[in-house]
């Protein structure tokens, strides 16, 4: 069986790869491209550890095929930081101790970043529902929510609002 040739954009960089038809985007990222920041926690779209942004929408990359990336813009955890400076969501996760084991963290940060791309004024309840697809077993979510709300205030300040 021949592999499929895919041309896409990942974290702002042009990317080409070959993949099997049945390979998930998560498999491609981790096993073909060496982008192991996206984690596999369930491979059924329930845990959110593999969350990426695809054309502006959050997606569980375990539920997307590698071939579906053709012509799209993908952002993974490796593309969230602003060069050598952390994104406010990343910085606030650190300051609020919003991670313990850190395994769910990439997915949560990608999902939270996508939330704040959508709105700079989420209520705590909105943030909780937005992040309900990202399981964390360590923290009880308290510090994660504090980090996300605090990151929103930083981004609001940056936007002059």
């Amino acid at each position: 069986m021949s592999k499929h040739h895919v041309t896409t954009t990942i974290n702002g960089e042009p990317m080409e790869y070959l993949c099997e038809a049945q390979q998930t985007m998560l498999d491609v990222l981790r096993d073909e491209l060496g982008l192991t920041g996206s984690k596999e926690g369930c491979s059924s779209g329930d845990c959110g550890a593999c969350t990426i942004i695809c054309d502006g929408n959050i997606v569980c990359s375990c539920l997307m095929l590698g071939v579906e990336a053709e012509g799209r813009e993908i952002t993974t955890i490796e593309g969230i930081a602003r060069g050598d400076e952390l994104h406010p969501v990343q910085q606030k996760f650190l300051e609020h101790a919003a991670l313990q084991c850190g395994f769910c963290t990439p997915g949560l940060i990608v999902a939270a970043k996508a939330l704040l791309d959508t709105t700079l004024n989420p209520t705590e309840e909105e943030a909780r529902y937005w992040l309900a697809g990202n399981l964390c077993r360590c923290t009880g979510y308290d510090k994660i929510l504090r980090a996300v709300m605090d990151a929103a205030s930083v981004l609001r300040a940056e936007a002059g609002r």
Binding site: T36, G41, E78, L86, A97, Q100, P106, R137, Y141
Partner: protein, 763 residues
């Protein structure tokens, strides 16, 4: 030197960013499944579809012929391990049982039990090959439920298991591995003195630790037998010990390297994959990667024990308890070794009681072998005891906190399991709960407030740590415990405090089995206590060396040198007049004053102070759906001394949330054939962000004098009270008691319907 004076501390008690943090927020941290090696093969495990079956024959020939398959292993590829107790992991384990849990021999004992494994060039080929392995089974009758497994006519899992702890020694094999009892005083006398007796039965379901990272490893065995294991576990030394034993090789031939660990909670205190990958690597001569799917994690790895809790409490009308009796029946899973012992020990340890009788049964059934889960055993027994106390408080019309206060263990209380308590902070947690504003917030309709307390003894044990001064005055700390929740930060903070240098100048790493002395695994809430003690002592030894070096530079006696704020000073006017020398000043000259400055300390830490917690939970019950919403949650805990308060709070908040999941939703559901029906996060529902409110973690600090900074373990206590706290809150809200977990919406609805039968629509 004592660091118990909190006001004098500069680093301990602050909230710096964890040293491994940046790697974890940019996706660079390397977890178990993130390793690869050149020439690496992918492996998959074939698992039994039967709850209980004799393995008649395994034909691997078709699988071996599939293109891309390099090796297949079954139990025949592993040494047949003798019956021998292992003291390697957390909780009881036996090398023979562990070997048979990793790869079934003769019988498959649960749905999901490993029966064979394949190594192939891709994961897809390995999976396809598993399908081609032909296993012939003779399906046997099975048993899932703990009490059914104890019945005289139950299908017996192990025909060589005779109940230990009963006289005379039984002659008939049984699923009851062990009976244990703890007695204090005279239980009959205690009940004779009682004016009120409450006797109830409660039950809990097995729940999974549900760490988000599935088990994963890469193992490379060289042709000379030298083996490197990269894996995610709670103890690299545990991995080495188990793999050496199960494969029959020397420990010196194995180097176990700890990956970052994506959660464990006790579930990664034993091995499942490493011995299998090692056998496959040995057979192929290639590195082998083996990663579980989520379904395999649920079907094949340890949940926490479930079981029944029978509680009988006698008291005076004043509320003073005169007698307490408990019978625990805990599921061990397919092999002996439930945490019924700690369940017995913790049940009444919070109370100062004269007459106690506790009986525990360790019971096997056709489920995965249970593994430790956060305070193993204690949440179950405490759910029963703390619910029963609430029933007693209601019966007597006494405030539940006042009832606990009246009976609370204090310094000098002798626990039913033996030790006498000292420096305990239970009363302080009750006091803090009483004074917390959340305790006074008025409740609305269908809302209720529940109180429950919890105890965990905490452990110390063997730990090693080394402190190395770099040539530029920065410092490396090597510790032997995988960092499961931010402990590297605590280690660096304790070292920085002792050395008197900024936290940022200290970089901690977790060493592999060849780089640091033996260290018992990460568990039992022991790391900050025991390994923290080792780090502190190693740093103190470095300080002694720094003083000697300064003395050599100044040509005075080391006793005449004082170490303060990261600098050497002459101890007084008599010592001479010298400019202070900083750690960096001394480090840069170390080559000329005696060589590298470094110290390693290995200890067996004793005196882990027990942990006490008191929780207040407010709920609202939706009478239409039976859904229970957690409105507020306040968790007060004696933490000894919080080294990094944010991560202490995090332990409390995480433990509470896991307890809420155990209380309200989580359970293993089996079909009539003994197959697990909810082996995924969709149907096994752990709490998500929208299920929880913010959690008020309240830290009470009663320093543990046996730790240099006063720390006591904090990670496990917080999961002990929540189940009863939630049940007591529901009882307060609806006026009916729920005694069987989980208190899921259908079960809450059933109770509500009983209270107020739904009216049928008029015909």
């Amino acid at each position: 030197m004592s660091y118990l004076d909190k006001a004098a501390l500069k680093v301990v008690g602050t909230r710096p960013i964890r040293p491994d943090g940046v790697d974890k927020v940019i996706g660079r941290a390397s977890f178990g499944a993130d390793y690869t090696m050149p020439g690496m093969l992918w492996a998959k495990v074939k698992r039994s579809p039967h709850a209980h079956a004799r393995i008649l024959k395994i034909d691997t020939s078709k699988a071996e012929k599939l293109k891309g398959v390099l090796a297949v292993v079954t139990a025949a590829d592993f040494p047949n391990i003798a019956n021998e107790e292992a003291f390697v992991g957390e909780g009881p384990m036996n090398f023979r049982d562990l070997s048979r849990n990793c790869m079934a021999r003769d019988k498959a004992l649960y749905d999901g039990h490993a029966v064979a494994a394949v190594a192939a060039t891709t994961a897809a080929i390995a999976e396809e090959a598993c399908e081609l392995i032909d296993v012939q089974y003779e399906v046997l009758p099975h048993v899932i439920d703990v009490e059914e497994a104890m019945a005289p006519d139950a299908p017996v899992l192990h025909d060589d298991m005779f109940t230990a702890g009963v006289e005379p020694k039984p002659t008939k094999a049984s699923n009851v591995a062990k009976k244990i009892t703890f007695t204090k005083g005279d239980i009959a006398k205690g009940f004779a003195e009682a004016e009120v007796v409450i006797e109830r039965k409660y039950s809990t379901k097995p729940v999974h630790q549900a760490y988000i990272e599935p088990h994963a490893c890469v193992v490379a065995v060289a042709p000379d037998g030298q083996t490197t294991i990269w894996s995610s576990s709670q103890g690299q030394f545990m991995v080495r010990a188990y793999c050496a034993k199960l494969l029959g090789v020397d420990m010196a031939d194995i180097r176990a390297v700890p990956a970052e660990i994506g959660g464990g909670f006790g579930g990664k205190t034993l091995v499942y994959l490493e011995p299998v990958a090692m056998a496959l690597s040995k057979k192929t001569g290639r590195p082998v990667k083996l990663v579980m799917s989520r379904e395999e994690v649920f079907r094949g790895t340890g949940p926490a024990a479930g079981g029944t809790i029978e509680v009988k409490i006698g008291a005076k009308r004043s509320g003073r308890i005169t007698a307490a009796e408990l019978v625990l029946k805990y599921q061990a899973g397919a092999f002996a070794g439930s945490p019924v012992g700690p369940g017995c020990m913790c049940a009444f340890a919070m109370y100062d009681l004269d007459h106690v009788h506790i009986t525990g049964y360790d019971v096997v059934s056709n489920r995965p072998k249970v593994a430790a889960y956060r305070a193993p055993g204690a949440p179950n027994s405490s759910f029963g005891v703390e619910s029963c106390l609430d029933e007693l408080a209601r019966e007597l019309g006494i405030d539940p906190l006042a009832l606990r206060e009246m009976n609370a263990a204090r310094d000098g209380t002798k626990t039913p399991y033996g030790p006498t308590l000292t420096n305990v902070g239970y009363l302080q947690t009750i006091e803090a709960a009483k004074n917390h504003p959340n305790f006074k917030i008025p409740l609305g309709p269908n809302q209720g407030r529940g109180i429950a307390s919890g105890f965990w003894f905490n452990i110390g044990g063997e730990s090693s740590a080394s402190v190395h001064v770099n040539e530029d005055g920065t410092v490396a700390v090597v510790e032997g415990n995988p960092d499961i929740g931010g402990s590297r930060a605590s280690m660096a903070m304790m070292a920085a405090e002792v050395l008197g240098i900024p936290y940022e100048k200290v970089r901690p790493v977790v060493g592999d089995t060849a780089s640091i002395g033996f260290t018992f695994l990460t568990g039992g809430s022991r790391v900050t206590f025991a390994t923290g003690m080792a780090v502190t002592q190693a740093a103190e030894k470095v300080v002694e060396q720094l003083k000697s070096r300064a003395a050599a530079i100044w040509d005075i006696s080391p006793e005449a040198v004082e170490w303060k704020d990261g600098k050497a000073f002459p101890a007084g006017a008599n010592a001479g007049s010298f400019e202070p020398l900083s750690l960096a000043d001394i480090a840069v000259k170390s080559g000329r004053t005696g060589g590298p400055i470094t110290a390693e300390v290995s200890i067996n830490a004793q005196g882990a102070g027990p942990g006490f917690a008191t929780h207040i939970c407010d709920v609202e019950v939706d009478r239409e759906t039976g859904f229970v919403k957690i409105l507020r949650y306040t968790a007060v805990q004696d933490v000894g001394r919080a080294i990094h308060p944010s991560y202490v709070e995090g332990q409390i908040q995480g433990g509470v949330t896991q307890g809420v999941g155990w209380a309200l939703n989580e359970e293993y559901i089996y079909d009539k054939d003994g197959r697990l029906e909810n082996a995924g996060f969709l149907d096994y529902r752990i709490p998500v962000a929208s299920d929880m409110p913010m959690i008020d973690a309240v830290m009470v600090e009663v320093p543990n004098p046996r730790h240099p900074f006063g720390a006591r373990g904090v990670g496990e206590v917080p999961i002990v009270p929540p189940m009863a706290a939630v049940a007591n809150a529901i009882a307060d809200a609806i006026g009916a008691r729920m005694r069987d977990l989980p208190m899921s919406p259908p079960k809450v609805r059933a109770v509500l319907d009983e209270l107020d039968p739904p009216r049928m629509a008029a015909e």
